[in-house]
C-alpha cells in the first residue's frame, strides 16, 4: 500500500471533522431542540399526530436512522477520495 502523505491525511481529517460536526448539529436539533419545544409544536398536527409528540415517538428516531446511513455514505466518499478507504 502506498504511503499516505501528511497533507492528504490532514485534509482527510478536516473533512471527516466537518462531516461529524454537521451530523452532530442535526442530531442536536432532533434530540434536544424539538423535544424541548414539544409543547409549542403540539399546536400543529402531522399525520394526525400532535407535531411535538410525533417527533419524540417517531420523527426524531427516523431522522437518527437516516442520519447514520447518510454519514456513512459521505464518510465512505471522503475515505475513498483520500485513498484511505479499505476496499
Amino acid at each position: 500500500m502506498p504511503e499516505i502523505g501528511q497533507e492528504t491525511k490532514a485534509r482527510h481529517w478536516s473533512r471527516t471533522r466537518n462531516l461529524t460536526i454537521l451530523v452532530l448539529v442535526i442530531w442536536f436539533v432532533f434530540a434536544f431542540v424539538l423535544p424541548w419545544f414539544a409543547k409549542e409544536l403540539n399546536a400543529f398536527s402531522f399525520l394526525g399526530f400532535p407535531l411535538g409528540y410525533y417527533f419524540i415517538v417517531q420523527g426524531s428516531l427516523i431522522v437518527f436512522v437516516l442520519l447514520i446511513f447518510f454519514q456513512n455514505w459521505r464518510q465512505d466518499v471522503i475515505d475513498d477520495e483520500a485513498g484511505v478507504g479499505e476496499e
Binding site: 423535544p35 398536527s45 394526525g48 454519514q71 456513512n72 484511505v84
Partner: protein, 607 residues
Amino acid sequence: MIKGSFIDNLGRVYALYTGGFVVFIILMAILEQLGVSAATIGILFVGFTVAIYALIGFLSRTMQVEAYYVAGREVPAVYNGMATAADWMSGASFVALAGGIYFGGYGYLGFIVGWTGGYVLVNSLMAPYLRKFGCYTVPDFIGTRYGGNTARFCAVIVLVVASFTYVTAQINASGTIAARALLIPFEFGVWIGLLGILLCSMLGGMRAVTWTQVAQYIVLIVAYLVPVIWMSNKQDFGLIPHFSYGDAVARIQELEALIGLGTAPAAEGAPGGVRILQTPHNDPQGGLDSWKFVTLALCMMAGTASLPHILMRYFTTPSVRAARKSVAFSLFFIFLLYFTAPALATLTKLQLLDPTLPTAIIGQSFEAVRNLAWIQNWESVGMLFLADGNGDGILQLNEFFMRPDIVVLATPEIAGLPYVISGLVAAGGLAAAMSTADGLLLAIANALSHDLYYKIIDPKADTRLRLIVARVLLLGIGILAALIASLQLTGILGAVAWAFCFACSGLFFPLVLGVWWKRANAAGAIAGMICGFVAGTAYLYYVYPGGYGGTPWLGIDHLRFGIIGMPVSLVAMVAVSLMTKAPDAEVQAMVDEVRIPSGETILGAAH
C-alpha cells in the same frame, strides 16, 4: 453445517431458523386449539427457545483468543447489527418500556429519544475508531492510547460497576419471566435464567454470544411486533398501527378530561409496585419539564456511547467500514422496537379507557370487570389490584391499579388474542433479558481476564490459561450477579438508568477525547475517569431517597446523575491534561493512524 462455511451460509442458516420458529409458533397454536393447557404452552415456548440458544452456544465453542474475545473479527455488518440490537434491548426495553410510556407520559419519552439518538454518537465519535484500534476490550483502548496500567485499571473499575449494576437487573428480569412461564418460585427462576445465559457464553465467548444474539433478536422482534399488529387489526386500529395511532392519542386526551385523570388513588390495601394512571398521555409543560426531558435523554445517549458491552460488539466486524455500517443497522433494528412501544402503550391504554370499545374497563360495572379472566390472572399474582373505593359499583380510573411492567405482557390478553401470543411474548422477553445479560457478563469477564489478569497481573500467561481464567471469571460473576438479583434490591428500570449514568460519568470523555483530542494524556484521562465517576456517584448518594435523600438540584434526580458526572469529568480531564506534559510523538502518530480507516490495526492481531 456450522463449521467452515458457516459465515458464507449465514443467510440460509438464519432463514431456516426463522422459518423453524414460525412453524413452532403455528404448532403451538394448533396445540392450543387441541386443548393443551396455557401453562404447558408457556413451558414449551421457553424451553424450546432456550434449548436452541444453548445449542448455538455449544456449536460455537472455541479455544482461540481471537474467536473468544472478538468472534474472529468476521461478523458481517447486518448480523452484527442484529446482535447489537439484541445486546442492547434488555428486559427493560422489552418488558418495561411500553409500560413506562403508559404511566409516565412525556417525561418518560426521554428514554425513547435517548436510547436511539445515542447511536449517532456511537457512529460519529466512537465505533469506527475503536475498531481501527483493534482492541479486545474497552479498557484495552484506554490502556494503550494513554499508556500505563493506572488508566487501564480505572477503566476496568468503571466498566465493572456500570455493567454489574446493569446485569443484576437483567438476571432479575430473566428470573421473573422464567418463574412465570415455568411456574417456579422467583428464587429458582433466577438460577434457571443464569444457567441459560451461561450455556450461551461459557464455551464460545464472544463468538457464541454473537450467534445466539442474532437468534435472540429474531425471537424478540417477532414477539414484539406480532401482538401489536395482530391487536391493531383485531380492534380495527389499522393494518400497521404505527402510522395511524395519532387519532388514538387525541381520543385519549379527550377521555382524560372526562374520567378524572390526576385524582388520588381511591383505595387502600394495594400490593407494592402497583399504581393508578395519573400522568397525562401527552402534555409537556415546557420549562422544567423540557429540562428534565433533555437531561434524561443526554444521559442515556452518552451512556450508550460509553457502555462497553455495546462498544465491544463493533470490535467483531471485518473492517472499519463494516463497523460503521453495522452501527447503522443496529439502530435500524432497535428502531423497529422503539417506534412500536409508544404505539403499543397508546393503543392498550385506549382499549382500557374508551367506553365505546368492547375491551373497556374504566367506567364499566365493577363486578363485570372483576370477573374478566385476564384481570383475575394478574390480580392473583399481586400485579394488578381493583377496589371499588367509593362503592358505586363502577370502576373508576383511580380504582384500577396495575404494575407498569405488565402492560406488554398483558396486552395480548386484554385484546383477547389466543394464549399462544402470550407464550410468544414471554419467549421474547426472555430473549431480550438473556441476550443483554450475556453481553454484559462477557464484557465484565473479558475486562477482568484480559485487562486485569493478562495485561496487569500476569503478562506471560499462555492462551489456554487466559481462556480458562476468562471462563472461571464468567461463572463467578454470573453467580454473584444472580445472588444479588435474587435479593431484589432495585427495580429493573432504575438499575438500568444508573448503569448508563455510571458509564457516561466515568468513560464518555476519556473515550471521545482519546480520538478527538491529541493533547489528551494519561494523567488527564485518569483524572477524568476518577473525578467524573466519584462526582456522579457522590451525587447519586446525595439524591437517592435510600441514600442521603437530599433535594435534587434543578430536578436532576437519581435517574440522571450523569449530568453531574460528565461535566466534572470533562473539566478535570482537560485541566489536568493541559497542566501536564503533552503525549509523546509516538502516541500522537498513533492517534493520526486511528483516524484513517485503511492499514493495519494499532494493536497486533493476537495481543
